[in-house]
Amino acid sequence: MLFNSLEFLFFFPVVTTLYFVLPHAARWSLLLIASCVFYMVFIPKYIMILFLTITIDYAAGIFIEQAQDRRLKRVYLVVSLVATVLVLAFFKYFNFLNENIGGIARLFHWNYGIESLKIILPIGLSFHTFQSMSYVIEVYRGNQKAEKHYGIYALYVMFYPQLVAGPIERPQNLLPQFREVHTFDYTRVTNGLKLMAFGFFKKVVIADSLATVTAPVFLSPTDYAGHPLIIAILLFTFQIFCDFSGYSDIAIGSAQVMGFKLMENFNRPYASASIAEYWRRWHISLSSWFKDYVYIPLGGSRVSRPRLYLNLFITFLISGLWHGANWTYVIWGAMNGLYIILSNITEPFRNALADRIGISSFPRLQRAWRVVFTFCLISFGWIFFCARSISDSIYMLTHLFDGFIGKSAYTHLVIPGPALLFILVLELVQYAHRDRGTRALYAHKPAVVRWSFYYALVLCILIFGSYTEQKFIYFQF
């Protein structure tokens, strides 16, 4: 079920009302059934995959906890991780791997006859497998007790607000919340609803409007050249942020209404002054997952410089591959890894240069410059993320500046003016909440300001929102 669908408009109030009406003991069952319904709206039979990984990891958690021998614990961990990764690999990476092997085979004129599978990727597979893996690893590390209640564990993996696109929760944060008694708290509920409304504003008002401009460009980039390509990439930068952070806001808000506190997923990422800072602010739940379960186990930063750079590069490479089974995502991940490595290497030189030209005496100006530069690097990276193929991304890279050197652009873009205005509004709202976050939008302002804001927000969603049920970009991962 999509958050921006008519079904969700009925689903959410019904489930939330029942949640508060039912006694605490029955609430987990309600949420589990609701989560199953939410998931089964996409492809019902895929729920079996979900229950397979849930059962494996549930059993693995108990076995790991009960095992006395450290080696045996490790065996259970490996079995569980391999099983979960195999499910992910089969559905997400089999065709990618197969096509690449086939390509290599053709190059050497080998006979390779394995056909690609005609399967649809289960929605949110990468998210819930990572959440499951997180649970098993934490039990193995002794940071989390194994969950004995199968239903509660299943709910941990399937909790509908964050089932299909995160935030990827840690068991220490989410599991205990299913045992807490949540009463109807006016402030919490209204803050949750406000956050949901803000998420809908980002998604249906901004992201979906921008999609009408960017989608045709990325679908057929060769029809465009020069400034239309640059504009489309810049608009995509905001589109993907509004799309994904909008989803996260709706997820966090809808959980908050019922009394659950999910982790933050975004913190004004485009205000970052470096790529490293950006990755601490963008898709925080995934970045911290990679940090805790890939980067640190590889040695983290407490290693030699070359090894540190290798660790960083590997982490970002896997992160790129996590996003999609396409070389464009791999390049995008590698590119971000290189950004951070180069940033690390050149930092002393850049600091010296800043001192030399005197900009370091103006810290605000220096930060502003770094924010702009980081934003440009991030936008540049999105070329690979949004392109459908390597050749498309190469075309875009080589035709970005065509209009500036004499050639005229082929096709012009019609930019939706209101969407640009709303991006400005969004940035101002986020700036106003830079310290407190957006979990309690304008909660501390006078009633007139608060009500005007809520009124305008609802009106904007109704009047300027898209009603076409466009999928969230991150659903495909």
């Binding site: 008519l6 109807f184 006016y186 509920v189 209204t190 609803l193 003016g417 209101p418 009500w451 809520y454 009124y455 609802v458 009106l459 109704l462 009047i463 300027f464 929102g465 009603y467």
Partner: protein
């Protein structure tokens, strides 16, 4: 209780705003809203009018002033976009017909096959909300969703017209541009007194003319023809008449589609209960006379077609009265 009361109050405020905005006299920031202004013309003009009904081939494909001068009858050009469909427009103009009116149907060939496009629905709703709701949306929940989508889209269009109205208010200090009507906010900039476009389509090289090399192939929508026949009977009861005229088409394309178009001609002549004036061959022009599609004429093409239409219609449309003086302004 507090939650229900406050969220109810917010919902009420939003609802009242939406209704107020919908009922406000603000025009719309969308070219298709021009259909509202065009149909409004029928409420103002006198009797004995010549009313042209068609798609974008008429929007910028007719010199209504010349027809009016030659035939001595007020002309209303309702041509705007083929996606409205012929029967939808007829449904709207039926109640506005007066004695002596002559309705000239000139739908493009494509309009005969694909008579209605979804994007026109909300503008048809705007023409007669109470009469059209059931026909356009039905009474099912999915229809209600469509209606809400269209309703908010109309509100959006009204809101986006505000900056243009403000710009117009500033310009009016220096120019004599009439105020916006109830439909398209730029109606008076884009259309003249009889509904002809003031903004010609951009001419493209012949190889880029849309629809070129495409076979005229499809099933004529029988329902449309039935509705035209119904309309003609309704018009006759009101003392008005209806005729059908073939659309303008490139000669080069006609040669490729001759068999199919002649088959359509025979079909229309046998099926329609109204006079079909002339033949498809009468309205063939060189490809040079078309701008960006096989339906849109250049100024020269428009002049040639207007002459042909005057000649064809002169037998049907004897002068009823002198055109109102305001029309010659």
């Amino acid at each position: 209780m507090r939650f229900i009361a406050r969220s109810g109050l917010l919902a009420l405020l939003v609802l009242l705003t939406c209704i107020a905005l919908f009922l406000s006299p603000l025009p719309y920031n969308h070219e298709l809203a021009a259909i509202v202004d065009k149909v409004d013309m029928l409420k103002r003009e006198g009797a004995g009018r010549i009313i042209f009904v068609g798609g974008s081939g008429l929007y910028d494909g007719l010199d209504s002033g010349a027809v009016q001068t030659a035939l001595g009858r007020p002309v209303v050009n309702l041509g705007l976009y083929g996606g409205f469909g012929v029967s939808s427009i007829l449904h709207e103009i039926g109640p506005l017909l007066r004695k002596g009116d002559l309705v000239v149907l000139i739908p493009e060939y494509s309009v005969l096959f694909d008579p209605f496009r979804d994007e026109t629905r909300k503008w048809l709703f705007m023409l007669s909300p109470s009469r059209s709701y059931a026909r356009l949306y039905g009474m099912r929940p999915s229809g209600t969703v469509l209606f809400l989508e269209d309703f908010f889209s109309l509100l959006r269009s009204k809101m986006l017209a505000v900056p243009k109205l403000a710009g117009r208010a500033v310009r009016r200090r220096t120019t004599d541009t009439p105020a916006a009507g109830n439909g398209y906010v730029l109606y008076h900039d884009h259309f003249d007194f009889s509904g002809d476009s003031r903004r010609p389509f951009r001419k493209v090289p012949p190889e880029r003319i849309e629809g070129r090399g495409v076979a005229v192939d499809g099933e004529i929508c029988t329902q449309t023809l039935l509705e035209v026949n119904d309309f003609s009977r309704f018009a006759a009861a009101r003392g008005a008449s209806v005729v059908f005229v073939f659309p303008a088409y490139p000669r080069e394309e006609f040669d490729l589609n001759r068999d199919m178009i002649k088959r359509y001609e025979r079909y229309l002549k046998s099926y329609l209960e109204i006079p079909v004036l002339g033949r498809p061959e009468d309205f063939l022009f060189s490809l040079e006379r078309f701008t960006n599609t096989v339906n849109h004429l250049t100024a020269e093409g428009k002049a040639e077609r207007t002459k042909l239409l005057i000649r064809l219609l002169s037998t049907r449309a004897a002068p009823a009265r002198q055109p109102a003086s305001a029309h010659s302004s």
